[in-house]
């Protein structure tokens, strides 16, 4: 695989989960060299830990739009 792997911590929950899924499918697919399998497994574990950390630490982020912002975000969409 020659794709660049982004650092695990920078991935969102969904991205990390999706990459884990890809890794599992690769590992379940045609037989890989042992070294490659171990490398994939390690990355998979790091992704899992990242997801678990996100779930444990997550706090709801709330942002409130101001009246000005709302006024600025108007677009006529006739139905």
């Amino acid at each position: 695989m020659s794709e660049d792997l982004k650092p695990v911590e920078s991935l969102s929950y969904e991205q990390a989960l999706a990459e884990m899924e890809t890794i599992i499918q690769q590992m379940e697919g045609e037989p890989l060299a042992l070294e490659q399998s171990l490398a994939l497994f390690e990355r998979g574990q790091a992704l899992a830990k990242h997801c678990a950390d996100l779930l444990a630490q997550a706090e709801l982020k709330v942002r409130q739009l101001t009246g000005q912002e709302i006024a600025g975000l108007q677009e006529e969409k006739p139905f």
Partner: protein, 404 residues
């Protein structure tokens, strides 16, 4: 005696006439199914559970009764002075000769009119296709950003935030505040929906408010709001009022929830389910590795067996054995040779020893030498009176020539 021309009718009893009146009332179609509007006064709620009051306006008053079973189902909080619309039938309580409105249901005044308006609007917008099922968009399962349209100060917002925080704290919430009743509400609600659409990145919008009367909820039947919801490209979940409240916004939304909290639930997965899913994925990862390892292990064993058969080590071991054999044979061969030579050597040594000239001396022969060292083998080499040495086996004898 002459009777007056107007003969008095035969007198009928009070009960009879009352009964007559009652039947008169109960046979009138209008009176058997009527909505009456007026203001409540003289409210009485005895322990029996039945409710008694009068409805009045400027010109008249009407006695009313609500039986306990119906009273329990009332949506309106009864108070003297409030204007209501009451539905029921008119009859007569014979005991006291009072006609009454027997009420089965009550609603705030004006609601009848509002409800008509509601039905009219619904029909018109439905005909335009705003509520069509095909237009409903699916709600994303894992939203990253949720937009909320509601009052910034209402309980609905707190309910939704609490629910989101509990279920799915990974999500980011964007609140577009708007009034949820009053004349300013419809344009603010519509603007909020459009803003969340225009902002970009919002995966689903929740629009909601707490419970109230039809009048309180009326903003959500306003055409401007309904069109904004129908025209939203971001999926909208409506959680307005209580379970039994339906507004046109509910029909236009992509999904209706019974309450604001219900809307937040519909928008999100439960964190407990997420944790479960993560555990399952981790298990699959470990299982996949196990599978690879055991596959590799057995492949390795197979290889090992095959390898052993062609192993150089094996060859070396075989060769080594041959080498030993050869060495042994070599050694045997060599040893034999050596012994032969040794024997020959020994034989030669004996022969050599027997040919040693000095050994001859032991047999009685002597070596005669002149003074100049020359060995004498003839009488021509000596003169009378010459000194000679005679070498015998164990020494020399000095002598002179006496006679030749």
């Amino acid at each position: 005696m002459a009777q007056p021309l107007l003969l008095p009718q035969l007198a009928i009893s009070v009960s009879e006439i009352t009964h007559y009146l009652r039947q008169l009332l109960e046979s009138d179609e209008v009176l058997q199914d009527v909505w009456v509007t007026g203001e409540i006064s003289n409210l009485s709620r005895p322990v029996s559970g039945h409710v008694y009051f009068s409805m009045k306006d400027e010109g008249a008053a009407l006695r009313c009764v609500i039986w306990k079973s119906n009273a329990l189902r009332l949506r309106v909080a009864l108070q003297n002075g409030i204007a209501v619309e009451a539905h029921g039938y008119i009859s007569l309580y014979e005991r006291d000769g009072q006609y009454q409105l027997y009420i089965d249901t009550l609603r705030p005044a004006g609601e009848g009119y509002l409800y008509q308006e509601f039905l009219r609007l619904k029909a018109r917008l439905e005909a335009e296709g705003l509520f069509a099922a095909e237009r409903k968009r699916p709600i994303p399962a894992r939203p990253r950003r949720i937009g909320i349209v509601t009052s910034a100060t209402g309980a609905a917002l707190q309910d939704m935030l609490n629910t989101l925080g509990r279920r799915y704290p990974l999500v980011e919430v964007i609140l577009a505040p708007a009034a949820v009743q009053g004349t300013e509400a419809p344009p603010e609600l519509a603007a909020a929906i459009r803003a969340l659409n225009k902002l970009g990145g919002v995966d689903v919008i929740l629009i909601g408010r707490g419970g109230g009367s039809l009048e309180d909820l009326w903003a959500f039947n306003d055409e401007r709001v309904v069109r904004a919801v129908a025209g939203s490209s971001v999926p909208v979940i409506a959680g307005i009022g209580h379970e039994t409240d339906f507004t046109l916004t509910d029909f236009a939304a992509d999904l209706r929830a019974p309450t604001p909290t219900g809307a937040a639930v519909q928008a999100t997965p439960d964190i407990a389910d997420l944790k479960q899913e993560l555990l399952a994925t981790e298990s699959r990862l470990a299982a996949a590795l196990q599978e690879i390892l055991s596959y590799d292990r057995s492949a390795l064993e197979n290889l090992d067996h095959s390898l052993q058969r062609v192993s150089p080590l094996l060859r070396i071991q075989n060769d080594s054995q041959r080498l030993d054999e050869l060495a042994l044979r070599l050694e045997r061969g060599l040893g034999h040779e050596i012994r032969l030579r040794q024997a020959r050597l020994a034989g030669n040594e004996d022969r050599l020893r027997s040919l040693n000239p000095l050994a001859v001396l032991k047999r009685g022969f002597a070596v005669v030498r002149r003074q100049d060292g020359a060995v004498v083998i003839s009488i021509g080499q000596v003169q009378i009176g010459q000194d000679l040495s005679i070498h015998v086996s164990d020494g020399e004898i000095e002598t002179k020539v006496i006679r030749i």
